[in-house]
Amino acid sequence: MVDIVPLSSYPSYIDLLPSIQTCNITNLPENYFLKYYLYHALTWPQLSFVAVVRPRGGYKSSSTAIAGNVAGEYPKVVGYVLAKMEEEPTDGLQHGHITSLSVMRTHRRLGIAERLMRMSQRAMAESHRAHFVSLHVRMSNVAALRLYRDTLGFEVEKIENGYYADGEDAYAMHLNLQNMWLDWKAIEKRDAENNKEKNGEEGNEDEGEEVGDLGKKDAEKMIRVKVGRGLGVGDLVEKNESKA
């Protein structure tokens, strides 16, 4: 029995990071330091998911005082999807990217990869308003191609020659996600209603100004931080607070 659970949102299964890394290096030639997984988990905690074998008799600490606390549990990891948002989209469109997806050979054809993908896709659309999700797949990987194209509806965008370290070509694929976007208008409407109610109650006419600028950082400069390896990962860009 396999459960699909979030990696680092709620409840957090972040204890499983070493197991996820092992799952990756067991199955795939493209590997990363643990810090690269951490980077994903802490930058886009909503987007990555894990497939774990449910322990016999369930999770022991599911009834502790802290809601959703699964700390210190180490169920077997049989699959994961590691996902991110593209940091510098060339076309300016917010979009997600699947960094890595793998399911253990022993747990194939149970629909695990599909579920992992669907969870991640939805989170990209809801949390980050991603226009689409992109990924790369080896041209020889028929099973994965079938999943992405036939089951999930991805389209081949282009072929990237020699994408993989061993020289194999990749299909660059993508899938539109706009149909799963949250209805911001509805949220804003509810905001307005709430504000009205509050103001009415308090007899306060203060509408409040846009404070969108509050909390913005001062002049930022970019530094390049390398925390991963493998083609398609490249150097990660992170923004650094000015040292002023």
Binding site: M1, V2, D3, I4, V5, S8, S9, Y10, D15, P18, Q21, I25, T26, N27, P29, N31, Y32, L34, K35, L38, A41, L42, T43, P45, R54, R56, S62, A65, A67, G68, A71, M104, R105, H107, R108, R109, L110, G111, E114, M119, R122, E126, S127, R129, A165, L182, W184, I187, E188, D191, K198, D206, G208, L214, G215, K226, R229, E241, K243, A244
Partner: protein, 834 residues
């Protein structure tokens, strides 16, 4: 007095700082030299030069210069700050904090120093210090939300939930009702963070209220739904909880926790199988492709209901040709009735199909058949339903039908493993690998099986098919860089089995270093996560780092490392490499024989060193300028064979590096406690030794290893070379008396252990060891009794293999035992003595 700079030199100095910030370290050093030519004792310039040097791998020289800088200018915040930064790079955090504090005293307004200090306090979990730093930073720049959030985190982690919440609310109030945009993720996350803090206070009611007021505008929709469902259930608001769990299942029907929540919300009693099954059936209908709703009912259904449901479930999967069926079924085998029913059902499919298989097209039927054979092969290979000849028979039939199926061939290898024949198992796994050479999973398995067969070299060669071998250190270098803990641990264990302790220690240390790196990895996120605003994930990460070494990967490695150190302590000759067994045994008094073996071991060691240095030379020639993945030039390992580790003066002291975190992180692991006893008793640390015994006793009072240790400890207390200090003696005796009273006749105690546990071979072995220990003259009888355990219907091949070690410890001849065991397990190789 510190030198003062001319205005020209001062602007040069500013350039040095600028170069450093732009990461132009070489330019920075050059410019600093320009200043220093005229002002050779200018502390600040020296410090900045040192800082630049530290970034290009000259940490040692940088340190020397930074110290000089400090001597030249003790009153400069720059010299202190740089000194602190270098200490931090060296991971000397405590001293670094002190240096930062000095710097801050000299320049209380400096933001960078304050920030660097705060980051380290966080890393060191100096929460009170962190609270002070964060309060100061907030006061300087209250306009930044992250400064508020940071202070809240500080209070939260320090355990002051109320204060943490107050800080967050204070910031929210500064917004004066202006609602941040929906897309403001920092805001969305801060709201949810505040909600988790409220929930942690235990006031679920208030947490729910807060969530309902603000959750609708948080974009992590799934998290909000999970939190809400959990709160509702805990508040026993059943109808709403039911709706909440239903909504979660509609998003993700593959999560058993949601079904559990839904069932609790609907108050369906655990015993009402009919209602439960109906609930799951409903979800099957909604999600025909979902496995969970089909599979979970098999957990609770019994008898005929179980049989029907299992039949439907398995037939469907087998017809679809799903190879993963068995991994989903085996969890049921804790219940023997279910196990037997599954066996009966699946065996039944074969007989039916054999007679009327012609109805379907041959191809489909073949897939069904091969899947069924494959299922049965795994079934009879599984420890709770093991019948290896039947397993082999079924796997052969499956392979015959689908000779290219990697899984089938893999299972054949596993069967050989359980036959106790690691050589044959590795051979069969290699055949599986050859069926799909581009698949890393099967390559991994093949390497693992080769390691279990103690062939480290071949394993590395297999691994090299998927590593970047141009990395410094070749394949192994890449495996280190990619933190491939499973391989390093298995490699270490294989070396340990072969008593190649230098290499074993080398690998164990590598894994230990990887855990150190993982702990270090969090450092960058103390600042990063505040900027990103993903606070919940950050706090979870901090807490996880605090229990990092509870991970089973660490436990396993640490246990192996402690064993290796113990072995080295007990058999110091192993420093020169493996010696034939028996030479070091208690009985061996033949000094000549020992010398001969030692000479041989030393010669082998020299040969290995030569091989290794040749390899290194070859790699050097091949890649004169090899660089690591991060662009740094990496140095070759100067001690690839682990000689410095194995040549230690004090193996027990070295073992503490592993034992201390092991006992701290996994106190409930009985093997760890028993190993703790072994180390402490050899160090004559009686108090700590007895503490481990007490802990082990509370986990499992009749544990076989513990049993023998209790006897040994009682005996050792009786024959101390010099009496223990009075106070220690008092505590040790008081504690130990609870486990094994002084007045107890040990022989009787041991015999009663034997008769109470005669059903378990492992316990009987321990009892016999106890008897042999208490009265060495009983050895022949003990050997005879040990031989008799081979007639037990329950004895496993692992237990029989363990008996060989026991005979070793007794200094007995193993031939008779090995011969009988070899006959009992004719396919095995582990009883072939050489």
């Amino acid at each position: 007095m510190p030198e003062t700079l001319s205005s020209k030199d001062h602007s040069l100095f500013r350039q040095v700082v600028h170069h450093f910030e732009m990461k132009q370290y070489k330019k920075g050093i050059k410019t600093a030299d320009q200043v220093l030519r005229k002002n050779p004792k200018h502390g600040d310039t020296q410090a900045m030069k040192a800082l630049n040097m530290s970034q290009i791998g000259q940490l040692e020289e940088a340190f020397a210069l930074a110290k000089t800088a400090l001597q030249n200018d003790m009153k400069s915040h720059i010299t202190w700050h740089v000194y602190g930064l270098l200490l931090r790079q060296e991971k000397n955090y405590e001293e670094a904090i002190k240096a930062y504090r000095f710097a801050l005293r000299l320049e209380p307004e400096s933001q960078p120093i304050q920030r660097d200090l705060a980051l380290l306090q966080m890393q060191m979990r100096d929460y009170q210090g962190y609270i002070r730093s964060r309060s100061a930073m907030l006061q300087t720049r209250p306009g930044f939300r992250q400064n508020w959030t940071a202070l809240a985190i500080a209070h939260h982690l320090a355990g002051d939930l109320a204060e943490a919440e107050k800080v967050l609310t204070t910031y929210e109030d500064t917004l004066k009702g202006a609602t941040p945009h929906v897309a403001d993720m920092e805001n969305s996350e801060a709201i949810l963070y505040k909600n988790t803090i409220i929930a942690e206070t235990g006031n679920v009611e208030r947490a729910l209220e807060h969530l309902e007021a603000v959750g609708y505008r948080c974009t992590d929709v799934l998290a909000v739904m999970e939190m809400k469902a959990d709160y509702l259930l805990r508040l026993d608001r059943k109808a709403e909880a039911e709706a909440a769990y239903t909504a979660l299942l509609e998003r993700n029907p593959d999560n058993s926790i949601y079904y559990n929540g839904l069932i609790k919300a609907k108050a369906i009693p655990e015993s009402d199988h009919k209602a439960l099954k109906a609930l799951y059936d409903e979800w099957v209908e909604k999600n025909p492709r979902c496995d969970a709703a089909r599979r979970i009912p098999l957990d609770f259904l019994e008898g005929e209901d179980f049989k029907q449901a299992a039949d439907a479930y398995m037939q469907r999967m087998l017809k679809k040709g799903v190879p993963s069926l068995f991994v989903n079924i085996k969890q049921l085998y804790g219940n023997p009735a279910k196990r037997d029913m599954v066996q009966e059902l699946v065996e039944g499919y074969l007989s039916v199909k054999a007679t009327n298989g012609s109805a379907e097209s041959n191809g489909d039927n073949n897939e069904f058949l091969s899947c069924t054979y494959y299922f049965l092969a795994q079934h009879y290979n599984y420890h709770l339903s093991r019948n290896l000849p039947k397993a082999m028979e079924n796997v052969e039939k499956a392979i015959e039908l689908s000779p290219k199926a990697v899984e089938y061939q893999m299972t054949k290898a596993r069967i050989w493993k359980h036959y106790g024949n690691p050589g044959k198992a590795a051979e069969e796994m290699e055949k599986a690998r050859l069926l799909d050479e581009k698949d890393r999973h099967i390559n991994t398995k093949a390497a693992k099986y080769v390691l279990r067969n103690n062939d480290n070299e071949k394993a590395l060669e297999l691994m090299s098919k998927f590593t970047r071998n141009e990395t410094v250190g070749g394949t192994l270098g890449d495996l280190h860089e990619m933190q491939c803990t499973w391989f390093l641990t298995e490699d270490a264990e294989a070396f340990l089995r072969q008593k190649k302790l230098g290499l074993a220690l080398k690998r164990f240390h590598s894994v230990n270093n990887i855990f150190d790196t993982w702990q270090e990895d969090q450092f960058d996120f103390h600042g990063f996560s505040l900027r990103k605003g993903m606070i919940r994930a950050y706090v979870d990460m901090v807490r996880w780092e605090d229990r990092l070494r509870e991970h089973p990967f660490y436990t396993r490695m640490a246990i192996g490392a402690v064993k290796a150190h113990l072995l080295l302590h007990d058999q110091p000759d192993l420093v020169h490499g493996p010696m034939p067994s028996g030479i070091n045994g208690l009985d061996s008094t033949d000094e000549n024989q020992r010398k001969k073996a030692l000479k041989k071991a030393k010669k082998e060691q020299q040969r290995l060193e030569k091989v290794e240095s040749d390899k290194r030379a070859a790699r050097k020639a091949a890649a004169a300028n090899a660089k690591g993945a991060d662009g740094e030039t990496k140095k070759e390992d100067s001690d690839p064979l682990g000689n410095t580790l194995v040549q230690t003066q004090d193996p027990l002291k070295d073992a503490m590096k592993f034992l201390t975190p092991l006992l701290r992180s996994s106190p409930q692991n009985i093997e760890a406690q028993c190993l703790g006893f072994e180390v402490y008793s050899r160090q004559n640390k009686h108090l700590l030794a007895v503490k481990c015994l007490v802990a082990a006793h509370s986990i499992d009072p009749s544990n076989p290893t513990l049993h023998l240790q209790l006897l040994r400890f009682r005996k050792s207390l009786e024959s101390l070379a010099e009496p223990l200090p009075e106070k220690i003696d008092e505590v040790v005796n008081a504690e130990f008396d609870k486990l094994l009273p002084k007045t107890q006749n040990l022989e009787e105690w041991n015999e009663s252990y034997l008769s109470a546990n005669k059903g378990s071979v492992a316990h009987v072995q321990a009892g016999l060891s106890g008897r042999q220990f208490l009265s060495p003259e009983s050895k022949p009888q003990c050997e005879q009794d040990l031989l008799t355990t081979l007639d037990s219907p329950d004895i496993t091949i692992d237990e029989a293999t363990a008996a060989l070690d026991i005979l070793n410890r007794w200094g007995s001849d193993k031939a008779a035992y090995a011969e009988k065991a070899g006959k009992k397990w004719p396919e095995s190789s582990v009883f072939e003595l050489n």
